[in-house]
């Protein structure tokens, strides 16, 4: 855990941090979170604002960026969270505007400082409005999420996000009275062409398999005896199988201290679930830590909404696909870049597996969509 590196991040006064270890990763406890998670929680907050302002974006079911919002709801019901929802929102809104300010260019900061509380509130509203406007075009939000989650070098995560916000803020400041932001000011960060081909279909994550090292030897018998929802049958398998209801996941806990967590529907949920299991183990008296959390596999699915002629696809993409209908009703397509396996069915449903990151799934789907359109069964 990066708790040691926390001090230098103090200048970002996002909400008070809980100093308990391990902390429940609610949106407020930013102190122990990594950069990507803070990105997600900012996104979370923006979605929250959008919903609050009643400008709810039209959420199509496969639109997975909603997930952080769901997770937020989970945390709201989590009894361990000290705050209830409303104070959380207000605090984050104040925190957000102050964070936002710190990354804006100087001129803007000056102007904003001239209009103290009103200005920040207005700006927040404008931001949320622009965000909701962005959300209406599924592409920019998706790309923002993509950016937020995929920035490997975390050097300028906010600079990536904020230019879009900055533009909209600038536009809003220029015309403070008009609520209609020109669409040109909302600049998507990646070219629009790739998205228009996909018609806005985004694969939805179905399952995430992750591993984490608790870094201490465990007595499986003790865990099985004292923990609820734990199964242990040493004759069958040398691990404890534990399940929790929220997020609905299953964990395999080995005596070496390694743990596998399956069943989560998003990266954050998987991490949250893994932390919960770690906490259970910790409460039983073991010095459990949370090392090397890694997502091993992500499974996504989506529907292109037209029937696909698999015979044609297997013939033209022979070196990548295998189709044995008497064995399995779907065509198995092994994409090389990114290295993803796709199961393509006649009905138009596509399952993508083998990804380590969400971007790989989206990229794979974007690659396959034009190919599938070519074999559309009229």
């Amino acid at each position: 855990m990066a708790s040691v590196s926390r001090p230098e991040r103090a200048p970002r006064p996002l909400a008070p941090c809980l100093t308990r270890y391990p902390p429940p990763p609610s949106p407020l406890t930013v102190g122990f979170l990594s950069m990507e998670e803070e990105e997600t929680y900012l996104e979370l907050y923006l979605n929250q604002c959008a919903a609050q302002d009643g400008l709810a974006p039209p959420r199509s079911p496969p639109f997975s960026p909603v997930v952080p919002y769901d997770m937020y709801i989970l945390n709201a019901t989590n009894p361990e969270t000290a705050f209830n929802s409303n104070p959380e929102i207000k605090e984050t809104s104040d925190g957000f505007s102050s964070v936002d300010l710190s990354f804006l260019p100087d001129e803007l900061t000056q102007e904003d400082k001239d209009q103290p509380v009103m200005g920040s509130k207005h700006e927040t509203e404008e931001n949320s409005e622009s965000q909701s406007r962005q959300s209406r075009l599924p592409s920019p939000s998706k790309q923002d999420i993509g950016l937020g989650l995929n920035s490997p070098s975390l050097s300028n995560p906010h600079s990536q996000r904020h230019p879009s916000d900055t533009d909209s803020v600038q536009a809003s400041l220029e015309k403070p009275d008009s609520n209609s932001l020109p669409l040109a000011s909302i600049t998507p960060m990646t070219p629009v062409t790739s998205v228009s081909e996909c018609c806005g279909i985004v694969p939805q994550l179905q399952n995430i398999v992750s591993t984490v090292n608790l870094a201490c030897k465990l007595d499986l018998k003790k865990i099985a005896l004292h923990a609820k929802n734990a199964e242990y049958n040493p004759k069958r398998f040398a691990a404890v199988i534990m399940r929790i209801r929220e997020p609905r996941t299953t964990a395999l806990i080995f005596s070496s201290g390694k743990m596998v967590c399956t069943g989560a529907r998003s990266e954050e949920q998987s991490r949250l679930a893994a932390r919960k299991y770690a906490r259970v183990v910790q409460k039983l008296g073991f010095p459990a830590r949370f090392l090397d959390f890694k997502i091993q596999n992500m499974v996504g699915s989506c529907d292109v909404k037209f029937p696909i002629r698999l015979e044609g696809l297997v013939l033209t993409h022979q070196q990548f696909s295998s189709y044995e209908p008497e064995l399995f009703p779907g065509l198995i397509y092994r994409m090389v870049k990114p290295r993803i396996v796709l199961l393509i069915f006649v009905s138009g449903k596509v399952v993508l597996t083998g990804a380590k990151e969400r971007s790989e799934i989206c990229e794979a789907f974007e690659n396959i969509y034009p190919i599938l359109k070519g074999f559309k069964k009229a």
Partner: protein, 328 residues
């Protein structure tokens, strides 16, 4: 019952006839499928290339052929495993029987690998499957591949069997079947295509218990194990596929083409099995049905097992039963 298959559509267009797609009707074969032909349904043959409503006689004949061949194969496999002193028929025995025909053996190996790969992928998708697999021990990964590789390693004298694992040559027969299927499906509408796909998904491995009973495994002393049953189901499917392939070739041969220099010789190679009154109606150019006729099937088998040609004494070592195996 599902029908799929449309090779015949294909072939007719190949020889210049425009084809009218048969109306999907309640087929008499569904009755037969459920009662008389428990396993060999016309769907299989449709999917492999026959007409949408294959003839009943053809269906019965094909079922008979496949049944006989599989029983013989099973008996030979039982003998082989008895030689080894084993108690069950294992996939190794079947691989041993197939060692002579490299192409068919390669096709079988590819099938086994795809089966392994598919279970690996599907396991990763569903968390319950993942747990089950972990619980049953992690030696299941690529088990068929391991079995095949270890066995071929042990019997390989010249290295050519093991070379098949790395061999990436295109399987021509498979390629032709794929192309045939593609041509057929191009002209279908989505309802027909859905039906086609459904029928392609049928296999002998779906109703394993019925398959076992059909082969009368319970009366045998040495029974095949699970993987061996999978291979047998695959071989049954392959037999049907081969029969349909060959029958289509025969049918194509029978039609006299304009300008064909050997058209006068066709009747010499085609032995009429029916009496002359039936022959023209049954085997000539059909007016109402484009299905494969029993005579095509018989001719195909005859040609396949006929001792003609310079190499006939050296091909197909399983001749003593009087029937050459189509699948291996």
């Amino acid at each position: 019952m599902v029908v799929f298959g449309t090779t015949f559509f294909n072939f007719d267009s190949f020889i210049g006839k425009t084809d009218s797609i048969e109306v999907i009707g309640k087929s008499v074969f569904s009755y037969y499928y459920h009662n008389i032909l428990p396993l060999l349904n016309d769907s299989d043959r449709y999917s492999l290339g026959d007409a949408r409503r294959p003839l009943h006689e053809t269906a019965v004949l094909v079922e008979d052929v496949v049944h006989t061949q599989l029983i013989n194969l099973l008996q030979q496999a039982a003998e082989v495993s008895q030689l080894r002193g084993a108690r069950v028929i294992t996939p190794e025995d079947l691989l041993f029987l197939m060692r002579k025909d490299k192409k068919k053996l390669r096709r079988l190996l590819k099938y086994m690998f795809i089966r392994d790969y598919k279970s690996k992928i599907v396991k990763g998708i569903d968390e319950d499957d993942l747990l089950e697999d972990k619980l049953s021990g992690s030696n299941n990964v690529n088990k068929r591949q391991k079995i095949a590789h270890d066995f071929l390693n042990s019997i390989d004298q010249t290295g050519e069997l093991l070379a098949m694992f790395e061999d990436d040559e295109i399987d021509e027969v498979k390629q032709e079947r794929m192309e045939r299927a593609e041509r057929q499906t191009r002209s279908m509408d989505s309802a027909q295509y859905a039906e086609f796909c459904e029928s392609r998904q049928l296999s002998f491995s779906k109703k394993a218990s019925k398959f076992r009973d059909w082969l009368d495994c319970s009366s045998m002393e040495i029974k095949p194990n699970v993987v061996a049953m999978e291979i047998l189901a695959y071989l049954a499917y392959e037999t049907v596929a081969q029969l349909v392939d060959l029958a289509l070739l025969v049918r194509q041969d029978m039609v006299t083409k304009a300008g064909d220099p050997f058209s006068h010789a066709i009747s010499a190679t085609f032995i009429q099995y029916h009496n002359s009154a039936e022959s023209t109606a049954a085997c000539g150019v059909e007016a109402h049905s484009n299905a494969i006729q029993p005579c095509h099937i018989r001719e195909a088998i005859r040609r396949y097992s006929h001792k003609i040609g310079p190499l006939s004494p050296f091909t197909n070592a399983y001749r003593r039963n009087g029937m050459a195996f189509l699948a291996c």
